[in-house]
Symmetry: C2
Subunit: 284 residues, 2 copies
Amino acid sequence: MEVVRTIPGTRAAIDALRRQALSVGCVPTMGALHEGHLSLVRRARSECDRVALSIFVNPTQFAPGEDLAKYPRPEARDLELAEREGVDLAFVPSAEEMYPPGSATTIRVSGLTDGMCGPFRPGHFEGVATVVAKLLNLLTPDRAYFGEKDFQQLQVIRRMATDLNLPVEIVGCPTVREPDGLAISSRNAYLSSDERRAAPALYRALQVGAEVIARGGRGGQAEETVRAALAAEPRFQVQYVEARRPDTLKRDDLPGPPMVIAAAVYLGATRLIDNVIVPQRNPG
Amino acid sequence: MEVVRTIPGTRAAIDALRRQALSVGCVPTMGALHEGHLSLVRRARSECDRVALSIFVNPTQFAPGEDLAKYPRPEARDLELAEREGVDLAFVPSAEEMYPPGSATTIRVSGLTDGMCGPFRPGHFEGVATVVAKLLNLLTPDRAYFGEKDFQQLQVIRRMATDLNLPVEIVGCPTVREPDGLAISSRNAYLSSDERRAAPALYRALQVGAEVIARGGRGGQAEETVRAALAAEPRFQVQYVEARRPDTLKRDDLPGPPMVIAAAVYLGATRLIDNVIVPQRNPG
C-alpha cells in the first residue's frame, strides 16, 4: 500500500494507475476506521481494479462547538487496517495541504440540506460537499463509496456529483451494525458503558417506525411512533425524528414507502444518528 | 467538427479522445463568437491535440434585470466560425440539459468577488463558477482558456479550479481589441454608432491610470486619474473604477505594480467592462 500525503504525490500515483487503464474505487473517510468503512473498502475491491482510501478529519464540516478537537485520529492503526483490507493507495493529507492559505471556494447543495441534520449542523453539508468534490477531483475514481448510515450526506453527495457533472458513480452501501443493532460509528467510542447499553434503542425505535410505513402509514404517524419509542429510554435527548422521501428528502402527506426514517439523539454528550430505509414495494 | 448537444454524447466524444491519449483544450463561451473567442481557440489549438468549444448562454450568471433575453445567439454563424478555426468538438447544450429539474448545487468563491463587478451583479460569479466547474468536469480538458478582458471572472475561475483540485490548467489570454482600442465583446453589438464612437475612451482612460501605477503611483491615485478621464466623455455613466492587486483582487495602499485597473461604465443601456494589467517590474 502506498501512503501519500501531498496533492502532487496523489496525482502522480493516480496518473500511474490511469496509464495502465486500471479502474479506481475511492473510499473517503475521516479515519478511525471501523467495520462500516471496511465494508466500503471490500465493496470497492470487488468492483474496481484498485482502491484508494482517504483519511482526513475535515475541519470545515464540523460546526462551531462540535467535536473536531477530540475526534479520534488513530492513524497507525488505520493504515494497518487499510493495508490488511487490500487498499492500494492511502491519501492522508494535512489540513494545510487540503486548505492552503487563500482557499475561498465552497459548494452548497440547497433543498436536501434544509431538514434532518441540516439545521442542527450549520455549514456541515457545505463542508462535506466541498471536501468530497476536492477528493473526487484529486483521486478521479470511477466509483466512490459512502455508507447509508449518513443518509443525508449520501444524498447530498449524489446530488452534488450529478449537478456538477462529476465523472464518477456514487455508490451507497448498507449500514453495518453491531450484533445488538447499534449502527457502527467512530463516535460510538465516546459512549460510557451505560450509554453503550442504552444506544441500540435508537435503531429499535426506527424499526418500529419503519413498520408503520411498511403497513401503509404516513410519515407523520411513523415519526410519532418513533418519538414514543425513544421516550422509553430516559438517557436519550432527541434532536429530531423525520420521515422523508429517500430521493428528495422532502416530506409529504402520502402514505407508505419509499421512506427514510432518520433520527438524531444525544446520549450524554455524544450525538448519535441512524436511519432505516423502507424501500418501494414491488408492484403486484 | 462534431456538434454534440447532450451530456452523454459529450462524455462519449471526450472518452474517445482520451482513449487515443490526445490532449484536450477547452474554450467555454456564451457564443456570439468574435475575435476574442477565436484567439482563445487558436491558442488552444497551438497547445493541445484537440479543441472543444462550448456554446451556452448560462442563465444562472445573469442577475435579475440583466440582458439574458436579448443576449445574441447566432448559433449557425458560431458553428461555422468554430469549424473554420479548427474546433474539433462543439458542445451546445440546452438550459434543460445543463440544469435538469432538481438541480441544487452552487459554487461560491468568496473574497475575490467582493469588489469590482461583484456587488453590481449579485449571483453572477456563483453562476460562472458553477457552470465552468460543470463544463470542466464534462469536458475534462488538460487546459481551459479564458480571456483577460473578464479579469475578475478569470481570477475566480483560477481560484475555483485550484481550491476544488480540478485537474486542469487555467490559461488566461490577452484581451483582443479593435484598432481604436475598444475591447472586443459580444455586447459591443448593442452600441449605437454614436455610442460606438465614444466607447474607446474607456480603454484610453484605463491606460492613463496604468501610467500612474507604472510611475510608482498608488491605486487610489490611479482610480482618481481614470475617473477624471472618464468624466470627459459625457455619455459614460461610471459604475466603478478600481485598482487592485491582480492575484488577490485586494486593495492596499502600497505604490506601484503589479496592479489591475478595472472599470465598468454604462454607455446608454449597454454595460461595458475593461481593464489594464500593470505587471510587476523585473527587479534590476
